[in-house]
């Protein structure tokens, strides 16, 4: 965890009323902002805020795979890069890809591949770029949620949207949608992404430790948050496509 070199641990992360450091209940998401079509020059794009976490995603394609020898005869290849701006974190992130960014690019790509109809575009490439503008916990889940919206905005056919959030354990309590301080000083952080229509997990990682029983409850808590996010995603897309005049659709 690069963040927070400076900010000391608060005495308590959950108060006597069960409220979290930012006033939320354990099972409460942070304020969410979602927008699609925020960039002009990509084929699809989305902007998401989960509290202080701010992420943009953009999609290019389907386009010709390049270099050509990477092209597959039976489906599109999907490239994905998760990247943070240097000023998105407490301590300036050096330019270039860190090992963490390379790992997260992998798990986000693997989640997206799971729901995208790549076989509809043989020999093509679809490029997904996730850029973290500000990191306040949950950047990979916000990024994956945004990437899924950007794919939809680009008109790429998908079996489902992907919605994602993190659950974690903080001062012994299971909480939903960790902010940076909870991530840093909590016992566990578990990012989860699902394809809700299929009731299936498409990304799952654990950083920290929790009892097996807690793990089961954490997964259920994540699913609750994911369903809320999924609803917002569909509303945003519905709004966008209803704004288009009939000729554009």
């Amino acid at each position: 965890m690069l963040e927070f070199s400076g900010i000391p641990r608060p005495e308590r992360l959950i108060d006597e009323n069960g409220r979290r450091i930012d006033g939320r209940r354990p099972d409460e998401l942070r304020p969410i902002k979602m927008e699609v079509g925020v960039l002009d020059k990509s084929d699809g794009s989305a902007y998401i805020e989960f509290g202080g976490t701010k992420v943009i995603a953009a999609v290019f394609g389907p386009r010709e795979a390049h270099p050509r020898h990477l092209a597959l005869p039976d489906r599109a290849i999907l490239n994905c890069r998760y990247h943070m701006t240097s000023f998105s974190v407490e301590e300036r992130k050096p330019l270039g890809m860190t090992r963490r960014e390379i790992e997260l690019s992998k798990v986000i790509r693997e989640a997206l591949e799971t729901v995208t109809f790549l076989e509809e575009f043989p020999r093509a490439a679809i490029d997904v770029y996730v850029e973290v503008i500000q990191a306040d916990g949950g950047t990979r889940t916000a990024g994956l949620t945004a990437a899924s919206l950007a794919l939809a905005d680009a008109g790429i056919p998908m079996a489902d949207l992907i919605a994602a959030t993190a659950v974690g354990k903080v001062d012994g309590h299971l909480v939903l949608d960790l902010c940076d301080l909870e991530d840093k000083y909590g016992e566990a952080d578990m990012p989860v992404a699902m394809a809700p229509r299929f009731n299936s997990i498409v990304m799952l990682q654990l950083n920290g430790r929790m009892a097996i029983d807690e793990f089961r409850r954490a997964l259920a808590l994540a699913q609750k948050g994911i369903n809320e996010i999924y609803k917002l995603q569909r509303e945003v897309l519905k709004r966008k496509f209803s704004e288009l005049s009939p000729e554009e659709v």
């Binding site: 400076g6 960039l39 002009d40 020059k41 990509s42 794009s45 202080g52 701010k54 943009i56 995603a57 953009a58 290019f60 386009r63 890069r81 990247h83 701006t85 240097s86 000023f87 998105s88 974190v89 407490e90 300036r92 330019l95 270039g96 490029d127 770029y129 850029e131 503008i133 500000q134 990191a135 306040d136």
Partner: protein, 278 residues
Amino acid sequence: MALTPKKDLTASIMRNKIYSLLLQDKRIDGRRPADLRPIKIETGLLTKADGSALVSMGSTKILTGIKVEVGAPFPDRPDEGTFTVNAELLPLASASFEPGPPDERGIELARVVDRSLRESGVVDLKKLCLVKGEKVYILFIDIYVLDYDGNYFDPSLISALAALATAKIPRYEIVDGKPQKTGEYFSPELSALPFTVMVGIIGERFLIDPQLEEEKALDVSLVMGTDEKGNMTCVQKNSPGQIPVGLMDRLVDVVAEKTNEIRRKFLQEIPVKLASVS
């Protein structure tokens, strides 16, 4: 080694169209040759950056963030803070940008902005000294092109200046030989306000602030800038092609006028403490 990108057939057809319009003082998006696109400046959007600005010029969008650290000065300038400018042409901004380390275009952008800031003395580096020869403030000015619809030069410089002018830099003091935050913040005082205008030339005609379709069709382009005192602070021919020597006189006048227009817009949005700005 990098190559000059190939011009496609479309560019050549578009060139003729743009040129025909220029002969009538018109452009494909309705602007006149010396019209800038609308400029929008937002600052302070981010809390983890010590300064930040999101600037759009038409559809081109630039995000600049500043992070400040405390470190050692350069040996030959012991009483001055330092700054570094980086620029990344993010692949999400354009199908023509590749992921990976900055290519020659990103490096050129960073260096052109760096020279504009450095040579016009925008930041008084002596005010960024904590302990002479030992500890100074180091500013990392990082420019990200988010959406590229032509001319990333002018909005990048605007966003760098806006992020600088509105930065809240944590003030340090030396306690037991080590720098510690005092809890206070300061904004760098700007000593100059240089802006640039990108100029595109087709035949003997010119236009400014090209959008992407125009930029791809130009015969040649250059970036020029002046500060508030009428000094040239930037010149960079940034593409292949020939600039008729005889055209330069006229271009300089237009650039001076247009950077003034940008400067007025900037000062409307950003409260700059700049003694010498009229």
